[in-house]
């Protein structure tokens, strides 16, 4: 409790027309933490991330990044504050090449040299991307796209990474690889990660903390280990 | 419910059928309009109307006609008007769209209640209101077009042509070429409407054997490259250009561009040297003649004409018009032959109105047109008698000389628009003082 949490969410509410998608969500994420946001389809997980990154307007509540209120700033400014969102499916721009996608992520920073260094780091981190730098992103496999998406986010030098279902449509082995890499990133760079996952077990296996959403509200919050053991989790997903 | 509707519908249909019986195209001849009336004439004014393309793709070039006419009327008004009445000249924009022409003409006749129509411009446009004007008994004077159809006194007793028609002019051009350049190969370049066909009819009577190519352009397509290159291909030494000014200029530029130097023979509609100079002003330098003005490009151009052109600085009418233009025209563009065209129309109108008497009626205006020799500033006789509404009935052949007065190659000739002979015309040109607009 001594340290200020890097991300604080207070009473965040968002709606699509008449449908309330988020209802007074409260969260705190400590620096260097990895936390999972879980819940069935339609529970509001994606909306939560979109609202955090400014893609969706918050009806009420605040988002604080290291104490600074970022609730109302435009989505493209979040990168400058060190908060980067990798949307569902990765948001890879398939019309661009792999290298262009990566470059795009680091563009907001000045300094050609720094960008080049970062690119080298990212390629180091994701070897499959190295051989495909000049290929259109459309030719990548699902796992490679997810790597590219995360790599592009890393190019921006984030302090907080919001990841929306990185395992979607991926084989278990690939999912595992990505999860391992997140752990490594945390260890290497003190990166804070908010991970939205449907695959609850694999998410909880690498996170320290989890939030379970239902109907736009946080219905459970606990350490990952305890959530794993909780039967209510199973119910939230499988309904039995 | 339906059982009641069906008979009602049938009844309605039957009623409709009954009332609209009779062919849509079968028109009954109405009684001739009463001409002993003077709408638009008040104690101190006479209202004259015109339709002109002031906007849209066809506007360029023609705005100056009404500017010129307005300047002359302004001049007349400043000098006391016509028999004490000021002339109120109302110009409506029809954008060269016949649908608009019909609308604005009705507006002029019914709402503005003009006394007469002056110089309605364009064949496709004015041809759609000729019947209307004649039915309504509106004198339709001096149509701004060289089509043959204005001169039909039986059908359109109130419509009078103005400019020499395309066939007459082409006959005179053709005869001149046949007589003076018998060995030349001749190519035609003309607009793909009645300007072209009427001109071709005239030319063919004299130069059919010399003719090597007939090319036409569409006024909507400014790329005349293919046509000019075809003329060059055919080795035409003489190109007869029955074109509007923009296309004369385009043809000359295009010819210059491919290194083709035929003798251009241009009809009066496209030979306005002042307009052409304006259009070509940017290109003289590129022609490698830095020290010469644009007119150098036009030097040697043969053209036909029936009223004095702006370059005839010694002509008393041109002198008067220049003065009027300076004093009364709005805007700062230089005077062109197009301006003079409108000024001649206005002058003739003023003259006719003056002769129509102190209490003019439409009938007295028509009588004045019939009885008066309206040659006025023109270079050839003006036909406005009971049986011939043709307007200027012939042309001079001239050659443009850079920086000088144009050279008259052949004096005024007149002819008809059929197979008739071309004869020398005797012209009795009154001076401006004989019109006496400022005597009042």
């Amino acid at each position: 409790m001594a340290e200020q949490p890097i991300l604080t969410v207070e009473g965040l509410t968002a709606a699509y027309g008449a449908v309330t998608a988020l209802n007074k969500v409260n969260m705190t994420v400590p620096r260097g933490g990895i936390c999972a946001v879980l819940g069935a389809n339609g529970a509001g997980k994606t909306t939560l991330l979109r609202t955090l990154s400014g893609l969706k307007r918050a009806e009420a509540g605040r988002v604080l990044l290291e104490g600074a209120d970022i609730t109302r700033i435009p989505a493209e400014r979040h990168v400058h504050h060190g908060l980067v969102h990798v949307p569902e499916g990765g948001g890879v721009i398939v019309e661009l090449t792999v290298e262009e996608n990566l470059r795009l992520g680091g563009l907001w920073r000045a300094g050609r040299r720094e960008r080049a260094a970062r690119m080298a780091e990212v390629v180091e981190l994701f070897p499959p991307l190295r051989e495909r730098l000049s290929r259109p992103a459309a030719t990548l496999s699902g796992g490679e796209r997810q790597m590219l998406a995360i790599g592009r986010a890393l190019m921006a030098g984030p302090r907080v990474l919001l990841l929306d279902e990185p395992s979607l449509g991926l084989a278990p082995l690939v999912t595992r690889q990505i999860m391992d890499m997140l752990l490594q990133l945390r260890a290497d760079r003190d990166l804070t990660v908010v991970l939205v996952e449907q695959n609850a077990r694999s998410a909880l296996s690498i996170t320290d903390h989890g939030f379970v959403l239902n109907q736009g509200e946080v219905v459970m919050e606990d350490s990952s280990r305890r959530l794993l053991a909780d039967d209510r989790m199973r119910h939230a997903y499988l309904g039995f | 419910m339906r059982s009641r509707i069906a008979p009602a519908a049938a009844l309605m249909a039957a009623a409709l059928l009954a009332t609209s019986c009779g062919g849509a195209g079968e028109t009954q001849e109405g009684a001739a309009a009463d001409l002993d009336v003077a709408p638009g004439v008040t104690e101190d004014s006479i209202k004259i109307g015109s339709h002109q393309p002031l906007t849209g793709p066809a506007a360029p070039g023609y705005v100056h006609i009404s500017t010129g006419a307005a300047a002359v009327f302004d001049y007349i008004n400043d000098n006391g008007g016509i028999n004490g009445r000021q002339i109120d000249y109302v110009v409506k924009d029809d954008a060269y769209d016949p649908a608009r022409t019909i609308e604005v003409t009705r507006e002029l006749v019914h709402d503005e209640e003009i006394f007469a129509m002056l110089g309605g411009l364009g064949t496709p446009t004015h041809s759609k209101v000729v019947d209307f004007l004649n039915d309504e008994g509106v004198p339709d004077l001096f149509v701004s077009s060289g089509a043959l159809m204005w001169n039909q006194p039986d059908k359109n007793p109130l419509t009078y042509g103005f400019q020499v028609d395309y066939t007459k002019e082409a006959k005179i051009q053709g005869q001149y070429i046949a007589e003076n350049m018998p060995d030349a190969k001749v190519g035609y370049l003309h607009q793909n409407d009645d300007v072209g066909t009427d001109s071709e009819n005239g030319l063919e009577q004299y130069v059919a054997e010399q003719r090597v190519a007939v090319e036409s352009y569409d006024s909507g397509n400014t790329d005349v490259g293919p046509q000019v290159s075809a003329l060059k291909e055919a080795d035409a030494d003489v190109v007869v250009c029955s074109c509007i000014p923009a296309f004369s200029a385009l043809a000359m530029l295009e010819a210059a561009s491919i290194g083709y130097e035929p003798q251009f023979v241009v009809s009066t509609i496209g030979a306005d040297s002042a307009t052409l100079q304006g259009l070509l002003s940017e290109f003289a330098a590129e022609a490698g003649q830095d020290d010469l003005p644009a007119e150098q490009m036009l030097d040697g151009m043969i053209y036909t004409g029936y009223f004095p052109s702006v370059t005839m600085q010694n002509d008393p009418w041109v002198q008067l018009f220049s003065q009027i233009y300076e004093d009364h025209a709005e805007g700062d563009s230089p005077m062109t032959n197009t301006t003079i065209y409108g000024m001649v129309q206005a002058t003739l109108m003023g003259k006719a109105l003056m002769e129509a008497g102190d209490d003019p009626t439409r009938q007295s205006l028509i009588d004045a047109v019939h009885e008066q020799d309206l040659t006025g500033p023109g270079l050839v006789p003006f036909a406005s008698g009971e049986d011939d509404h043709g307007g200027y009935s012939g042309a001079q052949v001239l050659q443009y000389r850079a920086g000088k007065e144009p050279e008259v190659l052949q004096d005024a000739q007149v002819t008809d628009n059929a197979g008739g002979e071309i004869t020398e015309a005797e012209v009795d040109r009154p001076g401006p003082d004989e019109f006496g607009f400022h005597d009042e």
């Binding site: 027309g17 008449a18 449908v19 069935a40 389809n41 339609g42 496999s141 699902g142 279902e165 979607l168 449509g169 991926l170 084989a171 449907q198 695959n199 609850a200 077990r201 694999s202 998410a203 296996s205 109907q215 794993l228 039967d231 199973r234 997903y237 499988l238 309904g239 039995f240 | 419910m1 339906r2």
Partner: protein, 264 residues
């Protein structure tokens, strides 16, 4: 359930779909008999929607057949479904935003009209009786789903739950023999969800239902038979009870095998 197995309305066999190099479905089959509700479940990206699309003719599988009442459908496209007697709802609402709720449902009822093109064009003949019939049928359908009060409202002005009801009314108003429901429960509150479950159960007397859904409560409550997909393959089939106890299903949803055993 009946003891004899009736001939299936819809049967898909050996469906294989590839997108580029990616195999979305591999040798998948399912069948729906009249009066039964079949659930199609699986985690995100398992291929449910792809199968749905293959069945309804949106995409053509590389291998495998779809047959309707024993007849193999070869070149069917989505707009042929209605004529076959199949109604399909789409993920999301897909109501026509420019049409009133009633008009939306009347579009669904369109095939019940008897007038020909001439009547449609001229307003004569059956035009009016058709309009009246369609309107009555549509109103009845709206009433059945408790949305009659919203008949004249534009969809955008209605609460989400009511919009869902309208969409459902539009799907069943033409009395299809088979109803394909694509995630009907998404975004619904508990109360609306109960109503939906009741509605789906009531369909059983009139038509077969194929249901793609994430809400396990709903699936388990209404389905007679469930097909579970994961990574483009069928990993389990059977009645709800069997599915609930199938470790492969829990694994697909919850993750790692080794830990599943402990949870049972």
């Amino acid at each position: 359930m009946t003891t004899t197995t009736p001939a299936p309305l819809l049967a898909a066999e050996g469906i294989t779909v590839r997108f580029g190099g990616l195999t979305a479905l591999e040798d998948v089959g399912l069948s729906v008999t009249p009066g039964s509700v079949v659930g199609l479940i699986g985690p995100n990206g398992a291929g449910k929607t792809t199968l749905f699309n293959a069945v309804s003719g949106v995409i053509r599988p590389q291998r495998g057949t779809v047959s309707w009442k024993g007849r193999v459908l070869r070149r069917h496209r989505p707009h042929h479904l209605a004529d076959l007697g199949i109604a399909r709802t789409l993920q999301g609402l897909n109501l026509f935003p420019g049409l009133s709720a009633l008009d939306n449902v009347m579009v669904g009822a369109d095939r019940l009209a008897r007038g020909g093109p001439l009547a449609m064009l001229t307003g004569l003949g059956r035009y009016h009786s058709d309009e009246r019939r369609l309107r009555e049928r549509a109103m009845a359908a709206l009433e059945e789903f408790g949305a009659a009060h919203a008949a004249r409202a534009m969809p955008g002005t209605l609460p989400f739950g009511v919009q869902k009801r309208v969409a459902l009314a539009r799907a069943v108003v033409a009395e299809p023999e088979l109803l394909l429901l694509d995630e009907p429960a998404s975004g619904l509150s508990g109360e609306d969800m109960d109503a939906l479950a009741a509605a789906i159960r009531s369909f059983r007397s009139r038509m077969g239902v194929l249901l793609v859904e994430h809400h396990m409560d709903l699936v388990m409550a209404v389905c007679d038979h469930i097909v579970v997909l994961n990574f483009g393959e069928v990993i389990a089939t059977g009645p709800p009870e069997r599915i609930q106890s199938d470790p492969a299903v829990a694994e697909a949803y919850l993750g790692d095998t080794e830990e599943v055993g402990a949870d049972g």
